[in-house]
């Protein structure tokens, strides 16, 4: 009755009589009204395909989107992370106006470059130390700058100004400012401020 064959393309099970009767039975045809409808639909879809954008547009758009996104992400990653204000450092609003690049000393430029290259706090500290020594060597000629990183700006601002007028209003606040400068490693500036404190308040007992 049944004939089983091997292989994927051959019929593994078959009944000749059943198949023969089925062939006699299955004589229906698809309704002709559907033919015209479906062929028109096929033609319409093909026309729409032809009038659409070229086949390379979609992959190109994807590549452009991915590239643009990557560029934005990398650019954002390169931006410096804002750091909390260090104690005793002057606020950025008190920065003097920046002079032109031509007026900068070589020492300041080198310090700024090293500070910008410092990527973590540890290397930033090291860079600050190096910059501090260079700035200390040529402090008199150093103008302020605004295009350096926040740490550089803060340090240069401190180097330029030392204590503020409000710090100098009482011996206690002035002394506190001097201590902050010492903690920041600006010993030279702290000494200068201490000399000025002694002159301004000769009667005050200095520690």
């Amino acid at each position: 009755m049944t004939d089983e064959r091997n292989g994927n393309t051959h019929e593994p099970l078959h009944d000749d009589l059943v198949a023969e009767l089925y062939r006699e039975l299955a004589q229906e045809t698809a309704p002709e009204r559907l033919d015209a409808q479906l062929l028109a639909q096929a033609a319409s879809e093909a026309d729409r395909r032809r009038s659409g954008s070229p086949p390379w547009v979609r992959p190109f758009a994807w590549a452009a989107t991915v590239g643009l996104t990557l560029a934005i992400v990398l650019e954002v990653a390169r931006l410096p992370v804002p750091e909390p204000e260090l104690p005793g450092s002057p606020a950025s609003s008190r920065l003097p106006a920046a002079p032109a690049d031509a007026q900068r000393s070589d020492a300041e430029k080198a310090a700024t470059t090293e500070l910008l290259e410092a990527t973590d706090m540890r290397s930033l500290r090291e860079a600050e130390d190096i910059a501090r020594s260079r700035i200390g060597a040529s402090r008199e000629t150093l103008p302020a700058t605004t295009d350096a990183g926040p740490a550089a700006v803060r340090m240069q601002s401190a180097a330029m100004e030392g204590c503020t007028d409000s710090d100098r209003s009482t011996p206690e606040t002035w002394l506190s400012c001097i201590e902050n400068l010492e903690r920041e490693g600006l010993a030279e500036l702290a000494d200068t401020e201490r000399d000025r404190l002694r002159k301004a308040f000769p009667d005050h007992v200095h520690e």
């Binding site: 994927n8 099970l13 198949a19 009767l21 089925y22 299955a26 229906e28 045809t29 559907l34 409808q37």
Partner: protein
């Protein structure tokens, strides 16, 4: 069998299509040509397969109106899916997989309204012949038709894919999503039941 070439085919594309046809993939080549915008290729493909697909859907759904709806649905999906078409399997496998899935979706949508098929069901075809005029052959055909309609859906599906669509067991397992052995078992049961119905008719005659 020669396959008409579309006028818009470039020389390079023509060579590619010819290579595909040499590998006994005329249907796939036609579908690829339609994917590239050749409506004539689709018409050839449609006329080649439409009646078989219709009969498959007619016997699977057991109702001409449902078969019409499913038939439109199948070809409509094929038309819309042409851009995603990849010639990784036989075109018939692809086509009947779409048809099978359309039927499954239809069953799921209408599950609440499903009725068990009985011998008195309207869907069972009425032959023009009077009972006493039925020859042995005609009686056997009628018994086969009735037995086919009363087969479980899965067995009827596998039998139709085998007999009507001409698919092998591996292809049937792809279309229905069942294992090859399951398809084989369903086909064997279906054939046994159909054969038993014919034998009964022969005895009655």
């Amino acid at each position: 069998m020669p396959v008409p070439c579309g006028p818009r085919l470039s020389k390079q594309a023509g060579v590619t299509y010819a290579a595909l046809m040499e590998r006994d993939s005329e249907d796939r080549a036609l579908m690829l040509r339609y994917r590239d915008g050749d409506v004539g290729a689709f018409e050839v493909l449609y006329r080649r397969h439409k009646d078989a697909v219709y009969r498959y859907l007619l016997r699977l759904s057991r109702h001409p109106d449902t078969a019409d709806d499913l038939f439109q649905d199948v070809w409509g999906k094929l038309i819309k899916a042409r851009r995603r078409y990849r010639p990784t399997a036989k075109f018939a496998t692809f086509l009947y997989r779409v048809a099978h899935n359309c039927f499954i979706d239809h069953v799921r949508r209408n599950r609440k309204h499903a009725r068990p098929v009985t011998l008195d069901d309207d869907a069972i075809p009425d032959t023009a012949e009077a009972p006493d005029a039925l020859t042995e052959r005609a009686l056997a055909r009628r018994r086969l038709e009735t037995a086919l309609l009363t087969l479980p859906d899965e067995q009827r599906d596998v039998y139709l894919l085998h007999e009507q669509a001409g698919l092998g067991l591996d292809e049937i397992s792809i279309v229905t999503g069942c294992k090859r052995e399951t398809a084989k078992s369903r086909l064997r049961y279906a054939l046994q039941k159909l054969r038993a119905a014919i034998d009964d008719a022969t005895k009655m005659a």
